[in-house]
């Protein structure tokens, strides 16, 4: 199937700062593509250039194999990271207003049901909670029946429950066959929602692939942690590489299964054991020496 979006050597500069420095990727239809990276990596800038909100300094963006036209606005849905709505409009007014801006809008019933907006339809925009506001923003991104949806850090600032609720909605949208491009600095979000990920840092893509691929490629093994008191032999005689952290001993192993077998064969007390498999945070740490949220 031909890609829905192709980004070729995209560059965006602001005076002396190069925010996006020659990134390229291709997105097939129907997947959730994540742009992952720390704050200031250039994710939002890249997204806004692709959305047509700001103009590129260089490179090429193809939508359905062709440069963007006026019709692009009718075919994509956008949820911005920082945006507000008209204060004295209700949620219903807002949806009706934005629906009227498109040629073939989604029905109100479908939007309200998809984004769980029934209870707040008659509330003013400035009187709804952060989670409700994000759901409304998501509804605005869906109201033109878009084939491609941009979500810029959709769960930032939400409490865990609202976050999980939003993720379920995004998953349902994906299952509906839509293509999603999502930026986030949350590895949980990326792992839960994304089929493919590009990790950005300093305006460039430093790694790309599916989450399991990236973890396999850039992180090996896992960490098994035991309380120091459980270990009765001298630490220097431990069968695995280790380090002491806050009264616990963390041992690195090629595979968790293999590590556990070694410890059990040596007769270690495994009560209060904790096992950590590598994740995207570790991928990023291995690639850049920094944490995602730094």
């Amino acid at each position: 199937m031909p890609p829905i979006l192709e980004v070729k050597n995209l560059i965006k500069t602001f005076k002396t700062v190069t925010a996006v420095n020659g990134i390229s990727f291709t997105i097939p239809p129907g997947i959730c593509f994540g742009l992952l990276g720390p704050n200031g990596a250039g994710k939002t800038t890249a997204l806004e250039v692709i959305e047509g909100i700001t103009s590129p300094s260089g490179g090429e963006i193809l939508f359905n194999g062709a440069p963007q036209t006026e019709a692009f606005r009718e075919e994509v849905g956008i949820q911005f990271q920082h945006t507000t709505l008209l204060d004295f409009l209700t949620v219903r007014n807002t949806l009706e207003t934005f629906r009227a801006l498109y040629r073939d809008p989604e029905s109100m019933e479908h939007l309200v049901e998809t984004c769980n907006l029934a209870e707040i339809l008659d509330h003013m925009n400035n009187k709804i909670s952060g989670g409700q506001s994000q759901r409304l923003m998501l509804a605005l991104a869906l109201l033109n029946k878009p084939r491609l949806i941009f979500l810029d850090e959709p769960s930032t600032g939400l409490d865990p429950q609202a976050r999980r609720n939003l993720w379920e909605i995004v998953r349902a949208i994906k299952e509906d066959g839509k293509t999603i491009i999502l930026t986030t600095h949350s590895m949980d979000e990326a792992e839960y929602l994304c089929d493919e990920i590009a990790i950005m840092d300093h305006g460039t893509i430093i790694a790309q692939g599916s989450p399991p691929e990236l973890i396999r490629r850039y992180c090996r093994g896992g960490i098994i942690s035991l309380p120091r008191a459980n270990i009765t032999i001298p630490l220097s005689q431990l069968p695995l590489p280790y380090k002491e952290v806050n009264g616990r001993v963390e041992m690195t192993t090629e595979t968790i299964d293999q590590g556990l077998k070694i410890l059990m064969s040596k007769g270690f007390d495994l009560s209060d054991i904790s096992v950590h498999s590598p994740d995207l945070e570790d991928v990023f740490l291995n690639l850049t020496g920094r944490k995602l949220r730094e």
């Binding site: 909100i53 700001t54 945006t83 008209l86 204060d87 004295f88 409009l89 007014n93 009227a100 605005l140």
Partner: protein, 348 residues
Amino acid sequence: MSLKRIWVMFKARNYEFFRDKAAFGWNFLFPFLIIAGFAIIFGGRDFSGFKVGVFPSTTKQIDFTSTNLPEKFITTTHLEFIGFPDQATGLKKLKHHQIDFLIRIDTPTPLYWQLDSSPKGYLVERLFQSAFVPENNPYGTKEIVEGREIRYLDWLFPGILGMNMMFSALWGVGYVVVRYRKNGVLKRLKATPLTAFEYMTAQALSRFFLQIFTLIVVWIGADLLFSIHVEGSLVALSVVFALGGLSLTSVGLLLAARGTSEEFTSGALNFIAWPMMFLSEVWFSLEGAPQWVKGFAEVLPLTHLLRAARHIMNDGATLAQVSGDCLALIITTLICLVLGATLFSWND
């Protein structure tokens, strides 16, 4: 261009105006307060143009029967006489401009004090001196001004309406659009098929509608309270206010074309609004002002709006007689709209 998109943005902006209770109320209350204030100040019977201090006097009310002041001076209208016990008290009031003139009345020839820097004091002095000149030598013949007398309120009323329209246009469009640009509302709208032209047109039409709505409500209220008189045609007056509203709104749109700083925009709006308020004859006439000031005032749309409106309201002028001002308003509108549309940016 989509009329449907313009219509929904027009409706959305109107919702905001009518639901923002504080701003909505102020839009109507502000002109009423000013008109009522001036009606009280200039309509009261006790108003005196000049204050004359007199001493020695034990009471505020002065007994003139035993003084040597000429009757002609004592009975001059617009002079208010205030009694003081001694010279020191009277001089203190004079120095602080609380009175305009001070007279001692217990001497064979009245003594008086006046501040050279006070124009009012100078005028009272001339009145005082002329009161001693015999009346059998008139300097001219008085003629009666015919026709209906124009109250200051009748002259002021179009100015207040125009000023209200100006503030509504500049702040209601200029400031609001810049705020929307700063907080991302415009960015959200840019992500839709809405064009800049459609958005600007909707903003202009909405503000124009709200200006006319406000004007009608204020007019009806003021007419009930103060019996506003219109010498000319109401249709002609409506055309002038409509052109003025469009013109002022287009200035607001031009100011809204760029920028994300509310502080800067606020300064720029004041920079435009204040000269317009003082040089467009909202409060007082520029008759006698330097020529360059009058020339500058001609550039301001409010000048043309008020001149045309007053000409129709006070003098009964026709549209043809105010066509020059109407043309100036149309030209201002076109220039500002073209510039505003050219310069407009959704993002910065």
